[in-house]
Symmetry: C2
Subunit: 127 residues, 2 copies
């Protein structure tokens, strides 16, 4: 399986697959004599795994850890849970910040008349 088919199967751009190989996240298990990367089923599964983890907002480094746990048959679910729980914490913190931001901004937008006069509570608040 060439990189193009592997990428399609995993739902990733070719560039990204090559990038993951470069950084040693998911390397092609083999090369053809002419240097083409050859991917097998297992590698494609790993790529898809990473894609989903990235969709969940896991960083590349977190993906690396999850991947090694994914491959480790003797892993404990506690290890995986720890990573996911930490990530959940980050997300919730981000949510809190975003909510505070939104509320303040929404308040400003409401307060601003939005006409052709220069009075603007938004700018007032920023200065």
């Amino acid at each position: 399986m060439n990189i193009g088919s592997a990428a399609r199967a995993a739902g990733l751009p070719v560039k990204t697959v090559r990038y993951y190989a470069d950084i040693g996240l998911v390397e092609a298990p083999d090369r053809t004599q002419t240097g083409y990367r050859r991917y097998d089923e297992a590698a494609v599964r790993k790529l898809a795994f990473v894609r989903r983890a990235r969709d969940f907002g896991f960083s590349i480094e977190e993906c690396r850890e999850l991947l090694s746990l994914y491959e480790d048959k003797s892993r404990s679910s506690a290890d995986v849970r720890a990573i996911a729980a930490a990530h959940l914490e980050e997300i919730e913190e981000k949510q809190r910040q975003l909510a505070a931001l939104r509320d303040e901004l929404a308040h400003l937008v409401t307060a601003c008349r939005g006409d052709d006069r220069p009075d603007c509570p938004i700018l007032d608040r920023l200065s």
Copy 2:
């Protein structure tokens, strides 16, 4: 006022102030004979303005627009409101995505026993 004092007054790192000058966002109004940037009150106010706008999550380009509106005495509040409203939309969209993500992840973390056995719904979901 040297860059250090200006940065302190505006609540920004010196590096950032220099960066803003480099990209033409807020330039020092003057230089000493030996090349030191000299900031005045107005420039510091602009720096502080940008810092707050950045705290609100406005991009540098958005800051640039806001700044020019901030300086333009004949601006209309509608222009400012348009930028803020568009930004609010983005934030709300991000909030929706983050909420969906959080719910799914929280569900997985709850479902995972987190013991020393390898069964892990989190990994199952990712693969």
